[in-house]
């Protein structure tokens, strides 16, 4: 099933709104890794009674906010090489242990952006052919985390669906995504089935269906 872009504008959640909706699903004690883009907006929306441990691929467990200007420590960065801080009770490990956390199932959730997600949970988010290839920890994160949550705009800049029947970009992992949070909806993917869990306020399933490249079940 292919689908062309829908040009009609709808007003769903903002990027902050997507992050906030996702943050509401984080549970106390979760160990969480955040990718670039909307995922990086999640920490400020975590409810006050929920404590999550932020993991960075370069060996930080218990990452705090970015370092204030003038207080950067070149020996303390996140996976994007930005100077960060630590929370009380943080721990440092080497890169092998950092990925032991990831692959060994000790990471509860990784929140990632996506180029495309298939209805079966295949994820493409590491490489746009023609650009410069680099993978970082993306393939380890999707293979290892207990849950892979995608936070993204529902359609791309040209209005084309990013939730598709089959990813056309190179895959990061097969059948790995368990939830998708977009401006329009929340989906759960359960044993290969895409389920609409929730519509954003003011958004109908029909609006979502018109902007989604693969059929879904209304749960």
């Amino acid at each position: 099933m292919t689908q062309t872009a829908v040009s009609e504008q709808v007003s769903g959640r903002s990027r902050e709104g997507i992050a906030q909706r996702l943050a509401a699903d984080l549970r106390d004690g979760f160990v969480v890794n955040l990718g670039v883009g909307i995922p990086l907006l999640v920490p400020k929306h975590v409810p006050p009674d929920v404590e999550v441990i932020l993991h960075a691929e370069n060996g930080v467990l218990g990452m705090g906010p970015l370092a204030a200007p003038g207080h950067e420590d070149p020996d303390l960065t996140d996976a994007g090489k930005q100077p960060v801080t630590l929370i009380t009770g943080a721990a440092i490990v080497d890169s092998a242990v950092s990925f032991a956390v990831v692959r060994g199932g000790h990471l509860d959730v990784t929140v990632l952006g996506a180029l495309q997600v298939s209805g079966r949970g295949d994820l493409a988010n590491w490489y746009v052919p023609g650009q410069n290839p680099a993978v970082g920890g993306a393939m380890d994160l999707v293979a290892g985390a207990r849950e892979v949550w995608v936070a993204m705009e529902h359609v791309d800049r040209a209005g084309r669906p990013k939730i598709v029947e089959r990813c056309t970009f190179p895959l990061t992992g097969r059948g790995v995504v368990t939830r998708i949070y977009t401006d329009l909806a929340v989906f759960h993917i359960v044993t290969g089935e895409l389920r609409l869990a929730e519509c954003a306020p003011g958004i109908t399933p029909e609006v979502i269906r018109a902007r989604t490249g693969v059929p879904f079940v209304e749960a």
């Binding site: 009674d49 467990l61 630590l86 721990a91 490990v93 092998a96 060994g104």
Partner: protein, 249 residues
């Protein structure tokens, strides 16, 4: 708020049911989680598969689990306790004997999401060729052997395929720990403890000292709290150093 400290060791271990697979830290009595093992005996579970380097030299720790008849299988490199062998040869407990470095690496691999790995240790020996008895029948005949392991040549050497161990539970002992589960060990009591903790789906650590969160500097933590689910205090009644009777290879 994350607070992994539990006053009640019995409650912390209650999720362990009969039939569970349990990785246990320690090397002899050094770093052995005696309080947790005693508590496990009090819980009255049976049919346990314990993965541990030594059964021990006396009737504390795994030795107590053994003599109370709670063990279905032991995976170990050097059991020590003579009674263990009596039970093994009588067909009352299975014995998966593996090299000590393979044991350490299998625990780490399981905890690190590595399904299996190729090690040179034990290649071409009876611990990998399918001839070592895993268990005996009551009449003294071999009931089953440790299955033959895949051999494969890399470069000019022969290696054996060994599988990561993901244990249902892990019981470990640390010198210091905080309420986030961050642990520090002391000297050679570290040994298998961090690896057993990584291997466990649910890991309980017994602490000599509970310290305030933040007291352990980020660079000084031997095992981060993400690998630990609950921490309890070591009981003063637990034996600190058991009597060991034989020297291991």
């Amino acid at each position: 708020m994350i607070d992994k400290f539990r006053e009640d060791a019995l409650a912390a271990l209650a999720p362990i049911l009969s039939g569970a697979t349990i990785a246990v830290g320690g090397f002899g009595s050094s770093g052995r989680p005696d309080t947790l093992l005693d508590t496990l005996c009090d819980l009255d579970r049976r049919d346990l598969h314990v993965i541990v380097n030594n059964v021990g030299g006396d009737f504390t720790g795994i030795g107590r689990l053994l003599v109370e008849g709670r063990l279905r299988r032991v995976t170990a490199s050097f059991p020590v306790l003579p009674d263990f062998y009596t039970e093994y040869f009588a067909g009352r407990v299975e014995f998966e004997l593996i090299p000590q470095g393979t044991l350490a690496e299998r625990l780490r691999a399981g905890g690190a999401g590595i399904a299996a790995f190729y090690t040179p240790s034990g290649a071409g020996t009876m611990l990998s060729d399918g001839t070592f008895p895993l268990g005996y029948r009551a009449d003294g005949e071999v009931a089953a052997s440790i299955p033959a392991k895949e051999h494969r040549v890399f470069g000019d050497r022969e290696y054996v395929l060994e599988h990561g161990i993901v244990a249902d539970f892990a019981l470990v002992k640390a010198y210091q720990g905080d309420r986030k589960g961050n642990l520090r060990f002391r000297l050679s009591a570290r040994n298998f403890n961090p690896l057993a903790a990584m291997s466990g789906r649910h890991t309980v650590a017994e602490l000599e000292h509970l310290v305030a969160t933040g007291d352990l500097a980020p660079d000084d933590i031997h095992l981060p709290g993400v690998f630990v689910d609950e921490v309890v205090l070591r009981s003063e009644l637990s034996p600190r150093m058991g009597v060991m009777t034989r020297r291991s290879a």
